[in-house]
């Protein structure tokens, strides 16, 4: 009886061991896949929210210039990027050597937490001062412009959008899109607009969508006769055949620059510094421009931009200081 029992248990145990073996093997295979590409040589990790079409050619060109280098990419929308960085911080520190953000506010947040900053490449000096600080340098710009559905009277200035003819103007949500927050900051800081600009828009029936891209879709579909969105998205859609027009309204399209910065923990990584220097350099800026983003370096030709397009710049440090109260006041107009 006893022998039967132990034999039986032995069988069960063997089978169980085999099962564990399978599970462990599976896990190993899976994690092996994940770690497969790690190499001992020069490797840096880049965290960014810049879209693939811009960032992939930059990495490709940099890697072909530096055959030993390996740039590992994590690309995600700003919200996910924030979450990933916050998670990294609480799990042994930031895993990135270079962070390329889409707006200065987010980047300033990382600087304030001591994650990045403290170094800019020597070449940064040739980039306009309003696109850089001591901790990071802007390497791409988004322009907030006005668009309208074909057949609608093109607005000449931002104020035109508050006229009754436009009605349900589409605006992006500054709670979600940093570019929209930049525009909100600019209007609030400019006495001729103030938050009244948004209140008038809302009174005329403006709708708030999530992202600038959704604004483009809404105007292209005719849901909204006009909207506020970023220029590259608008031009891409127009080029594909969407029935929209684009204006750089007076007093100017709002510029939101995307800065790049070195991680504090990678202050010694020459490859990381090389990469940042490259993106800020003329060849790097040309690749950025070819990828469909507006470069910051003057003299590099970017995507379509009218000859003497007016451009305005928000005061980012002021905006950083009053972000919460500004969003609170905005919320009172656009609800939610």
């Amino acid at each position: 009886m006893l022998r039967v029992m132990s034999a039986f248990r032995g069988r069960v145990a063997r089978r169980r061991r085999a099962l564990y073996g399978v599970v462990v093997a599976l896990l190993l295979v899976v994690s092996g896949c994940g770690n497969g590409s790690s190499s001992a040589g020069d490797a840096i990790t880049l965290y960014t929210c810049v879209n693939d079409e811009t960032v992939q050619p930059v990495i490709a060109q940099f890697e072909s210039d530096h055959p030993d280098a390996d740039v590992k990419l994590f690309r995600a929308p700003t919200g996910d990027l924030n979450a990933r960085i916050a998670g990294d911080q609480r799990a042994g520190g930031l895993k990135a050597d270079v962070v390329w953000a889409c707006d200065p506010l987010t980047m300033q947040g990382y600087v304030d937490q001591g994650l990045v900053g403290g170094w800019v490449p020597a070449g940064a000096a040739s980039i306009p001062e309003r696109f850089r600080t001591a901790d990071y340098v802007g390497v791409a710009v988004l322009y907030m412009v006005a668009i309208y559905h074909d057949g609608v009277q093109p607005p000449a200035s931002w104020s035109d959008l508050t006229e009754a003819t436009y009605g349900p103007v589409a605006v992006p949500d500054p709670n979600v899109a940093a570019s929209a927050l930049g525009a909100l900051g600019y209007f609030d800081q400019t006495s001729e607009f103030g938050l009244d600009f948004y209140r008038k828009l809302k009174d005329q029936g403006a709708t708030q969508l999530s992202t600038p891209d959704e604004v483009v879709s809404a105007v292209a579909q005719g849901t909204s006769p006009a909207g506020v969105t970023i220029a590259n998205s608008a031009y891409a859609s127009k080029d594909a055949g969407s029935p929209i027009g684009i204006v750089w309204p007076e007093p100017g399209a709002v510029a939101i620059y995307g800065p790049i910065a070195l991680a504090q923990d990678s202050a010694d990584s020459s490859l990381a510094k090389d990469f940042i220097s490259y993106v800020a350099s003329e060849p790097g800026q040309q690749v950025v421009a070819k990828g469909g983003s507006y470069p910051t370096l003057s003299g590099v030709a970017g995507p379509e931009i009218p000859a003497d397009a007016p451009i305005v710049f928000p005061d980012w440090s002021a905006l950083a200081a009053e972000k919460d109260s500004l969003l609170g006041r905005y919320q009172q107009i656009f609800g939610g």
């Binding site: 009886m1 029992m5 039986f8 248990r9 069988r11 069960v12 089978r15 599976l26 896990l27 899976v30 994690s31 896949c33 994940g34 770690n35 497969g36 879209n51 693939d52 079409e53 590992k72 994590f74 995600a76 700003t78 919200g79 996910d80 924030n82 979450a83 990933r84 916050a86 998670g87 990294d88 799990a91 506010l105 987010t106 980047m107 300033q108 937490q113 709670n175 979600v176 899109a177 709708t207 969508l209 959704e214 483009v216 879709s217 105007v219 292209a220 579909q221 005719g222 849901t223 998205s233 891409a236 859609s237 594909a240 055949g241 969407s242 972000k323 969003l327 609170g328 919320q331 939610g336």
Partner: protein, 558 residues
């Protein structure tokens, strides 16, 4: 001897599964709590008193209740209606009822706006827009469409397991009209399944993000999940980040409030071990037009809820740019060409592999919990695994990243763990339902014939359970493939999944490529799903047993 080895096995299983629950659920959630506790620095009060939060919480709860209250009865009604033999083609309707599950949530929400919003399909073709689709009503409607299949499956399984036709015939033969029999016999018998479906639908709506975000935000309709998204978007400062985590914990709290009483009260009652022989409807109808009406109602539901939106999506995928009318002479495959790159296939392969591994592991884990929770000592497991289901993908991902990122950050293993944590309840609940039909007598007779517990389970229980297991497995594969949020936050070099590609295309802001990708993803799911469906149907007819979806006969065990 048998009793001892069973309890030994039980104890070992309990330890292993408890360890997995701790690893995947308890530790990450506690870690979140710890981070919120230590980093909020007395600011928690600020989180709770934040303007708009009360509104979002009310929205979330009302939405969850509203979806549950409508979707569950609809699903139950469909299940009841499809028992009638006079519904033409009802075998196909049973499959069709479950089809909306195959359309990813973000695709469904997006395609509804394409179909019904201003300048959408119905507007351009018929001149009939439904502007409210972008707002609370649209969110509600799409979530209902998305939840009905779930409720249908639960009700259908409940009908097969609990409402033996004879029980209803007995009522009719006692003088009850069809309606009275439904009220006094069928519905009371279905109560546990309906309650279980309600709990799951409530929790899933609490957690839903894509649909409220795509359709609700334009009109200023916020939920807790969209607030969390907002916080993370602005969250390069630690305060917003902690606030997002606190909101996620609020969702967990809401779930605990709903699920624990439900599980404690319903759990034991769900496990009535009655076994049914179903032979279709208790009372066959003929002559009336009811069957035709039912078919008409189902087809209009499916047409308006799924077919038309998906058609709109296909049209968007075929048009070169937004605002170009979807006429055949404008059709182009450019969007498909754009998204079908080598990288897409790589990522798709990786996603498929991940989904398969995850689904297989989940099926094993689901069985384990379903078996263990029948004993008093294991009862809480089923409830615990539901807690991670309600965590929005972004926060669950952050929780796992914080807990394990140090060692396995950026690997597919971490994404796999996230899938396991997120979908455990999804695998567990249908299997648990099917286990009601586990033939205890047959297991005992197998043991009495000399089979060990594992052999007995394999030879006797596996076969009748096979459809349920396959169904759970399929649900997990589908959901894991749909998954966007977690993998796009957790991926690392060489572990980018399909989701990363999808997000990338969405961010490019061009509807065409996104629609093309959605169409591809749906095809990618439907094409392999159909053979598995057929296999389940085959198994079901050959064993006479019922799967979680579209049940028919049930093994006759007394």
């Amino acid at each position: 001897m048998a009793a001892r080895s069973t309890s030994l096995g039980f104890r070992a299983g309990l330890i292993v599964v408890s360890a997995a629950v701790a690893l995947l659920v308890v530790v990450p959630v506690s870690r979140l709590g710890y981070v919120v506790w230590t980093e909020s620095a007395g600011g928690l009060g600020q989180v709770w008193s934040r303007p708009g939060l009360a509104r979002a919480v009310v929205n979330t709860v009302v939405l969850a209740a509203g979806v549950t209250v409508v979707a569950v009865p609809l699903g139950a009604l469909a299940a009841l209606a499809l028992r009638r033999s006079d519904v033409p083609g009802r075998a196909w309707w049973r499959v069709a009822m479950v089809l909306p599950v195959l359309v990813p949530q973000f695709v469904l929400g997006y395609s509804w706006t394409q179909a019904y919003a201003r300048a959408g399909f119905t507007d351009t073709v018929l001149g009939v827009p439904w502007p409210a689709v972008q707002g609370p009503w649209g969110v509600w409607a799409v979530l209902v469409v998305n939840t009905v299949p779930l409720a249908y499956v639960f009700a259908a399984v409940g009908l097969a397991v609990r409402a033996e036709p004879d029980l209803e015939r007995a009522a009719r033969a006692s003088g009850a009209t069809g309606l009275t029999a439904l009220r006094s016999v069928t519905l009371p018998l279905l109560r546990p399944s309906i309650a279980a479906a309600s709990v799951l639908s409530f929790v899933l709506t609490l957690e839903s993000f894509a649909i409220p975000q795509v359709m609700g935000t334009p009109s200023g309709f916020t939920t807790v999940t969209t607030l969390i998204y907002r916080d993370l978007s602005l969250g390069s400062d630690p305060a917003s980040f902690v606030e997002a985590l606190a909101l996620a914990l609020l969702l967990v709290l809401l779930t605990i409030i709903v699920v624990i009483p439900a599980d404690l009260v319903l759990g034991p009652r769900l496990r009535v071990s009655r076994v049914a022989v179903t032979e279709g409807a208790p009372v066959e109808q003929r002559g009336g037009r009811a069957g035709g009406w039912i078919a008409a109602a189902l087809s209009s539901y499916l047409f308006l809820g799924v077919v038309l939106p998906v058609l709109a999506l296909v049209a968007a995928a075929l048009t070169p740019a937004v605002g170009v009318s979807p006429r055949p002479d404008h059709w182009t495959l450019d969007n498909f060409r754009l998204v079908l790159t080598a990288r897409t296939f790589d990522a798709l392969g990786r996603s498929a592999g991940l989904a398969l591994v995850a689904a297989t592991a989940l099926t094993v884990l689901g069985v384990a919990v379903a078996v263990l929770e029948r004993r008093r000592s294991g009862r809480i497991l089923g409830t615990l695994v539901t807690l991670t289901l309600v965590l929005p993908g972004s926060t669950l991902a952050v929780a796992l990243l914080i807990t394990y990122g140090r060692w396995i950050g950026g690997t597919l293993t971490l994404i796999l763990l996230a899938y396991l944590a997120k979908l455990w309840a999804f695998a567990h609940r249908p299997i648990s339902g099917a286990l009601d039909r586990l033939p205890l007598g047959e297991l005992q007779s197998a043991r009495a014939s000399g089979a060990g517990p594992l052999t007995a389970a394999r030879t006797v229980a596996l076969r009748p359970l096979a459809p349920a297991l396959l169904g759970a497995w399929l649900i997990c594969v589908v959901t894991a493939l749909h998954e966007v949020t977690m993998s796009s936050l957790l991926y690392g070099p060489g572990s980018d999944t399909f989701a990363v590609i999808v997000l990338n295309s969405q961010e490019l802001g061009r509807i065409g490529p996104t629609a093309a990708l959605s169409v591809l993803l749906t095809l990618f799911l439907v094409v392999p799903a159909l053979p598995v469906w057929l296999l389940i149907r085959r198994l079901r007819t050959s064993t006479g047993a019922t799967g979680p979806a579209a049940p028919r006969g049930v093994a006759d065990v007394r």
